[in-house]
Symmetry: C2
Subunit: 205 residues, 2 copies
């Protein structure tokens, strides 16, 4: 299968990390999202929303939205609990990630480390940093008492939240304030077949 992606993307990395933990082979096709390469007719045929990541299966089917892809890949594996209540808890964290965490933690990183600042971004930065710290603090309080986010087992909730959390310093967040998050990141980084966000060994031409 082919992952249409942008290597610095945490949303793409979630999928790359899970594919590796599952031992599933894939190739990565890279797009320069800053240069508009996800707005071409060819890309919009893969995802009308014009966003990476998109997972393209060998039979031609495509799936967008990183957390939906995690859900699909995790079915029947140890990364998705069998109990319905625990499944809902996993999705609770994954929705927290997309709504309260990623927009506040990934955007400052994208602006400061990749795309550059402009007036509108500057106007939003302080508010996003405040909300981003609140999201990290919520994770910290939970991880002070738990090894992983749900049921003391690594799940796609952890993978979804790890992606942008572990590189939050690139957006100006001081992770040293959050020792429980740092320990949790270490536990994930020690998983067999773990790969780093900038690992480019699967990138194809």
């Amino acid at each position: 299968m082919i992952l249409h992606d942008y290597l610095p993307s945490g949303n793409g990395y979630k999928i790359r990390l899970l594919l590796n933990l599952l031992g599933i082979d894939y190739q990565v096709k890279c797009y320069d999202i800053v240069a508009g390469e996800t707005r071409t007719p060819r890309f919009l045929a893969l995802n009308p929303n014009g966003k990476i990541p998109v997972l393209e299966f060998d039979d031609g089917r495509t799936l967008a939205e990183s957390n939906a892809v995690l859900y699909y890949l995790a079915q029947g594996t140890r990364f998705w609990p069998s109990d319905t209540w625990l499944q809902a808890e996993v999705l609770k964290w994954m929705n927290f990630e997309q709504y309260s965490h990623e927009p506040n933690i990934a955007s400052p990183r994208f602006w400061l480390s990749h795309a550059g600042m402009n007036e509108l971004r500057q106007a939003q930065l302080a508010d996003k940093q405040q909300q981003g710290y609140a999201a990290l603090e919520l994770m910290e309080q939970h991880l002070k008492q738990h090894q992983y986010l749900v049921a003391e087992q690594l799940s796609i909730a952890d993978i979804a939240l790890y992606a942008y959390t572990h590189v939050a310093d690139e957006g100006g967040f001081e992770l040293s304030r959050f020792p429980a998050i740092q320990d949790w990141c270490q536990r994930i980084a020690k998983q067999p077949n773990y790969i780093a966000i900038d690992d480019d060994t699967k990138v194809c031409a």
Copy 2:
């Protein structure tokens, strides 16, 4: 069960609508989110993220994040498909809703119709309106060819997206530009046991 909610909230309404379509009884406890009533110690014990809606079950368990609640309530019902691929498609639309749709469509509505504008909100408004229209256009193109978002059947993907779409005019969006969306809204509003977003018959003291 008790839904901790704020009646104008589309995120809360998703859950109220599904509970009604399923014929499940509940009560609504209202909070003034503008006045900070979701930031009290008592509310933070229900949801450390300080956001409505939160569904509190009769046994005391609580679940936050509207889309996770929809998932939990829909298990084993006609609103959640049994096929894994279709499930992933439902979650794709629900993640689109939380990331690309709700922040751009619900926020202008909240600012313009409920909370009021300030300098930071004014700076973001044009960008949010542009992205909100893009999200509506994506839905329009899909609904031109489909009765519902996934598998031609009403699912929690439709319920999630209906909530803020059908009141998008309150955020300054002209829904008359989107005839397929309007037809889809009509189909949903005709469902047996449908309730309006401002229905207050379940509100308790």
